[in-house]
Subunit: 457 residues, 2 copies
Amino acid sequence: MKLLFKATIVATMISPELYAQSDSLQFNKISDNIMLQGQCYNNLRVLCKTVGHRLSGTEAASKAVEWGFEALKKAGADTVWLQPVMVPKWHRGQEKLSLQLDNNKWITVPALSLGNTEGTNGKVLEAPIIMVQSFDELNALPDAQVKGKIVFFNYKMKQDFVNTFNAYGDAVKYRWASPNYAAPKGAVGVIIRSMSTGEDDYPHTGSMRYKDSVTKIPEMAIGNRTADKLYQYCLKHTASARIQSDAHMYTSLVPSYNVIGEIKGSKYPDRIITVGGHLDSWDVGEGAHDDGAGCVQSIEIIRTFKSLGMQPNYTIRAVLFMNEENGLKGGEAYADSAISKNEHHVLAIETDAGGFAPRGIGFEMGAGKKQQIKKYAPLFLPYGVYDFDQEEGGADISPLQRKMGIPVAGLLPESQRYFDVHHTPNDVFETVNHRELKLGAVALTQFIYLVSTHEIF
Amino acid sequence: MKLLFKATIVATMISPELYAQSDSLQFNKISDNIMLQGQCYNNLRVLCKTVGHRLSGTEAASKAVEWGFEALKKAGADTVWLQPVMVPKWHRGQEKLSLQLDNNKWITVPALSLGNTEGTNGKVLEAPIIMVQSFDELNALPDAQVKGKIVFFNYKMKQDFVNTFNAYGDAVKYRWASPNYAAPKGAVGVIIRSMSTGEDDYPHTGSMRYKDSVTKIPEMAIGNRTADKLYQYCLKHTASARIQSDAHMYTSLVPSYNVIGEIKGSKYPDRIITVGGHLDSWDVGEGAHDDGAGCVQSIEIIRTFKSLGMQPNYTIRAVLFMNEENGLKGGEAYADSAISKNEHHVLAIETDAGGFAPRGIGFEMGAGKKQQIKKYAPLFLPYGVYDFDQEEGGADISPLQRKMGIPVAGLLPESQRYFDVHHTPNDVFETVNHRELKLGAVALTQFIYLVSTHEIF
């Protein structure tokens, strides 16, 4: 009741010729259907609790593929299929980081190897620590001061950035590339401050990548509290570290799959809207927000169209991409297949920013299309979705964008809590709220309904 | 950097004569100060962990008053004082609810007496249950069918309402007034489904009130899972319940205090802006979201003005109201004092909707003032605050509004998680995110800065 009332109010804010009451009513039907009968939260529970974390190339990732296939069939997709992808296989194994600070005692601290890093082959690597705040500070040091040392990059995610993804964008180069700066100067290892907004001591893993030319020195992340302590100590003293890690990237790729479910468009079956999240996760936690949430929301869109008997004009494809975290092989394979089959993709949307309450949908596309979409913005207001001004796409759909020039979009959920749990053992089902997760699926379904009904692309 | 960039963008959306770059810069200073140096999260930790829950009239409530006094002084308020209030004293004591369902076994279920209810004086009250879905359904029953029974009101908070406060507003009459419908028909007790959006079994307490004319029969709340089970059973069988409860409202009021801290206005010291939350809580959990969050945000506003050397034109008063939960005596006393002293209140703002990320500020005031405020709305967008269209005030400031006609406003945080923890043992510090809490304080401080600087009231 209240919702319909609100939807009527906002209708007065847009021009009468644009306002279609049927859109507002359809938005309401979509919301009610998902909030009352939605399966995404139950699906997420099953994925998190029966599969758990699912790094590319693992047995768990294979189980996740099976789960995704069944879930898309159950959601009512016209067709469900597996798209082969060759993915890297990285193995964490045992790992340990010890620091020598006060009293010269060695203490083991919570730490995680960054994904794709090479460890110490199980041996103990001991070296003095040299602390820097930035790449610039490191570059300014004489090589002799760095040689044989473990570099501690103490760069913090900036708490004064309101959107935490902006803070992540600012800081993540220290996770991704630190060995590429440290190794050429003779460093033997790297410790980074985690990409974390948490006021806790959980280390966060995540992708790094060695340049071809550099020595593959190990990289480990520590939590904010340990980093604070290490920072204070390093201001006055020389700390040492012991890194012991089995981490290893296998040289051969292994077979895996993207999981794809489709509703055929009634009017333009050849025009495809892709919506997806990624099925793989890091090898800690349960990959609940990252990105179980995006997978179950994508599946929910299919379920909702079917449940409400909505026949889209365009074909809608829900894609559970494999290997977003440490290779993007699924996204590349999906785009390559589209090119080789000469598919007509009109739009791709990604949901990979957490299962929190949605605030907007961002776009990377021409200004004209953005303006066309923004005319419908008032319809979303009763659902708490107001922001259509950000540039946003997604990693998995970036190959479609890059290789085929497809317009892309991304769901923008509330960002404040995401980097507390991102890539940690805490990214578990219990941190996802069922209403927030469902509202994300509502916004995506409404948006796809609009695009397909008004043939915006 | 990114923030400033965004703030510049939004500036182009408002008329040049209105846009003051200084406002945008001041907004940014306020945000940076709170996000980097804010004390509200630390203050909340102390309140929750050293005082804990603090029902009016208890020893803990007295400790909370002392804490609030010291926290306001430390925040730098020019003056801090205690305002005497006489408050009710309600005691929960021991309580137990057992149900007889399958196999005729008695099982004890999670349950909480509603606040202000009278229990069974420690005795066991056993009676058959009669289930109804609504007051209308109860009213339609012959008295003979209700007499001697315990009425189970199975009214659910509606999950299809997007804003959970609307769902609460729709359902809360079943918590507040059920005995007033059941007792006149001869019922001996009431069980309600909790005011909960959670998919769990936590019972939620909260205020109820007996009409003067009715027999004071006990009222208890059960969690959603138990309610689902009881509902299913009652469709086919007759269940029974045993209520045992010490709950009791003492006849005499006891002394307590509102805690008030003030920064004197430089230009109009007699014009007062009140901003507040409530210091009391229910006697479960830690009153973290309800309403420790509002208290520490109100204190944070004082700290921020002082820290940034901002001298407001109007006097700003942070008020930690006593007894919002089960009497509103603090709000009444504050308004009565204002009347007796002939104070000139220009605006009152409440923050009592949880420490979640802010989405807007709502108003109950004349349309002209609302329009005046809304012209500044674009300044708030970079901070995720976009909604200035809702009607909102607050319980504690409602006497100011009712008795003196003062315009009121209320912070509107994200609402999805609030009724998972509201009035439960789960409303603890750990469920509050430090960035979300701080962003609420940012929005309030920015708003008060605007009102005071542009002398909007």
